[in-house]
Symmetry: C2
Subunit: 495 residues, 2 copies
């Protein structure tokens, strides 16, 4: 789509120097009032605005980070050498950036490895299909499998099919995903990917096909993990690209009996490992109080994980680096966690989001002093909305945040977020208050989980706007004594 080049030649050891220079007003457009004030006395709002403007002016490392991560390491499936090497690279970069307590926390996983795969129409005439095995899908028999396709409009329609009615057949759920700004269309369609294989197998199907959970119309299938039933995915399961699902629908409409042949040599690696990478900007006053920033370093295996979630890792790292190089540390600690093995995680216990669970387990004792948590994992498009915890929805913190974020085109969400993402999910479930910086997801699901998730889809200006929002909001939270759990209780009901 849009190829941008980094505006700065800052790499490696130069990164920190560049970030510092810009905060000293030597690097470009820095808010004049803030720059004029003595650094030690700057109010949190002034520093937040200064960080925001530095990020907006391109004085941040996000694009360079995403470019190097996706170019050098390419796809980073959970448990792969690429994921491990990317984690080691990230830890080394964290040290160069001057972060503290940089380390890697490894944890065991069962890895899933895509093999060779293919799909063809065999009737009414041979035609190639574009399909991708869903994550965790078992392989087909070595000779492949073939069957008549029975199409359902939704997961509910599949669930309404009687037991045994799909014996020897291939079930297809052909629901179209709806395009929305907030990504709600994904939640409404993804149930078929999660539960479809189990429901199809329960009715005798030999395989499961899914119209891609995606909003594009390209010959690229959207993969994603499907759910275990009794510890395994019961039948081979594939996503079809949307034009391929259209084709099958049209052939059925012409009265044709559609048959499909499927092949996959996917496999599992039982003794694999993934890892979380941690780093901190230690707080100057109450370092035990942690503002947690998350994104995931692993990616799907067909693209290079640029928008999912290379950009998230770049955004939070760049924001933390700006904070690190501010004239003084914030009162609280800012902790960056690049999670491993997010994509392949099972959506439910006991196979839950591995990186997120590993973090919550390893840091259980600390969670009580985690004051706030947020995650960047919806691509690289602009932030348009901020959602704050219930405790601060109406108070001075929100008013300050909106003054700083408003110039970025960010509105207040009317309600507190119900969740903040997969990786910080276990911490949030354990009681850590969550914030969200909602990105415009209108185009995100054109690319999400496809081979098309590559660097050329990242717009550097939009990425900079994300860094600006994260740096400013995180600064405000970290350089404060606001209690996001209880402070500013909801206003009394109107009489």
């Amino acid at each position: 789509m849009r190829t941008r080049h980094p505006r700065s030649a800052c790499t490696g050891p130069l990164l920190r120097l560049c970030a510092t220079l810009c905060l000293l007003g030597l690097g470009g457009a820095v808010d004049a009032r803030a720059a004029a004030a003595p650094a030690a006395a700057a109010a949190p709002e002034a520093v937040a605005a200064q960080l925001r403007d530095a990020a907006l002016a391109g004085h941040n490392i996000a694009y360079q980070w995403v470019s190097e991560l996706t170019s050098h390491f390419g796809p980073r499936p959970a448990g792969s050498v690429n994921e491990l090497q990317a984690a080691e690279w990230a830890a080394a970069r964290f040290k160069e950036l001057g972060f503290e307590n940089v380390h890697i926390e490894s944890f065991p996983i069962t890895a899933w490895v895509r093999g060779a795969e293919s799909a063809q129409l065999t009737s009414p005439l041979a035609q190639p299909l574009v399909a991708a095995a869903l994550g965790e899908s078992p392989p087909t028999p070595a000779a492949g499998l073939e069957g008549e396709v029975v199409s359902f409009a939704s997961l509910d329609a599949l669930k309404a099919a009687p037991p045994g009615s799909l014996s020897g057949k291939i079930a297809l759920v052909a629901r179209r995903m709806v395009r929305t700004q907030d990504g709600a269309g994904y939640g409404a369609a993804v149930d078929a990917r999660v539960d479809g294989p189990g429901e199809a197998a329960r009715r005798g199907a030999i395989a499961f096909l899914l119209r891609s959970v995606g909003t594009d119309s390209h010959r690229l299938a959207h993969t994603g993990t499907t759910r275990y039933v009794d510890g395994r995915v019961p039948v081979p399961a594939f996503a079809l690209s949307n034009p391929d699902a259209d084709q099958i629908e049209r052939l059925a409409g012409l009265g044709e009996k559609v048959r499909v042949r499927l092949y996959s040599s996917a496999s599992y690696v039982q003794d694999a490992h993934s890892q979380n990478v941690l780093a901190e900007v230690r707080g100057r006053v109450r370092p035990q109080e942690v503002v947690l920033l998350g994104a995931h370093l692993d990616s799907w295996d067909e693209g290079t994980g640029a928008i999912d979630d290379g950009t998230g890792t770049g955004i939070i790292t760049a924001a933390a680096a700006l904070i690190r190089d501010a004239p003084q540390r914030p009162q609280r600690t800012v902790r960056v966690v690049l999670f491993g093995s997010e994509e392949i995680a099972q959506p439910v216990a006991p196979y839950g989001a591995f990186g997120g669970h590993a973090y919550a387990d390893n840091h259980k004792a600390e969670l009580a002093t985690h004051v706030l948590a947020g995650e960047s994992d919806s691509g690289a498009d602009r932030v348009y909305r901020v959602g704050l915890p219930q405790a601060v929805l109406q108070g001075e913190f929100a008013r300050t945040a909106l003054r700083v974020l408003g110039p970025l085109g960010i509105l207040a969400a009317p309600q507190a977020p119900v969740e903040a993402g997969t990786d910080v999910g276990p911490a949030v479930e354990a009681g850590v208050p969550a914030f969200v910086l909602n990105q415009d997801a209108s185009a995100y699901f054109d690319i999400h989980h496809t081979a098309d998730d590559t660097l050329d889809k990242v717009d550097q200006e939009q990425l900079d706007q994300n860094v600006a929002a994260w740096a400013a909001l995180v600064w405000l939270a970290a350089d404060s004594d606001v209690d996001f759990r209880t402070h500013g209780a909801p206003p009394p009901p109107q009489p």
Copy 2:
């Protein structure tokens, strides 16, 4: 992109009835003045306007034709069963439409068959690449081949490399195609696809890679035929998707030595056949005078040949069907030819464009009475320009044509076309005057020769505009006695 559904339920035997109804003014918006005039006395211009308006109002079969062709037969590579069955289907449809002299002319070809294929970066880290073998490319060894990539900015840069300098290496030409409305960017970039493998082999390369000749940024490679040298393509040759070419460029920019592994099991079928499908609307006065309309029925093998060239076959067929059902026949014969084996044809003798050459050979004696030829083979987007033969560039015919085509948003090309397309090329080289109805090609090369060439990319309103232009212009040419070879000689030079 945009999925449209046919507005009419007209199929099969109903097609002709629908076309007739609309011309009688019963089918929708027909030009009021023209409809009021007695049919037998209608001036050519009035009939042309009537045909145009009927097509614009959706009373034409083009979309339904393209939908059925691409859905039922899918990809139609030259020499395949799909191509043959599509030809037989087209001939049957031609008869249903009331065309005359419907027949198939078969000719021998050597077919090229894509096999399994794959490409990976092997250094600095393993990454999958999206690549497609170029047409006519020989297979790799069964174990694949691997080598260091040497990148060139253009074919000329490759040609400047000394003999032997690529020994054991893989040559990559990474030139970016320029997006233009008239498609000129294609001509400027395609030389590397045509001549690259030969030039690389001459310098010792073991394989050839091409940055796709395409204007998109998706993980879909643009295939296309490459040129024989001494009767064969000398080394395996692949197109890389544009994001993959970007990735290699970035890795080289980071100082990495890039190595790639390639595999293809492509093969040749020596005793294959392709075929042209012919049909006519016989002229009422001078039936021996032929206006030739061409498009090609074969397609590349990864998409379903919707915009290349299903839409072309639908446009000329729909235009001829409107003419067939006009109140009276035109004075001259309108001949529709759906050519076979256009895509895989070698660009130069003796392996020239098979369908076009077969036609010119079979109809050599008739070419002297072919009064005009045109071809529709640039997708489905709007016609924006008409190019007429030199002999009529300035005369009354051009003025009439522009009055009829103007309301469609069509301008006059200032010069006569130098060529009209691959299929009618041999006839034009033999002296048949050519016209062109240039389609807006701005987006055509996003899709061209990729798996993404599917029905969802066809916009029905734009398709209707094409049919309107073809029906109107062809009527004017066919219902006239204009000599496009000599009539209206160029104006004398200005004093």
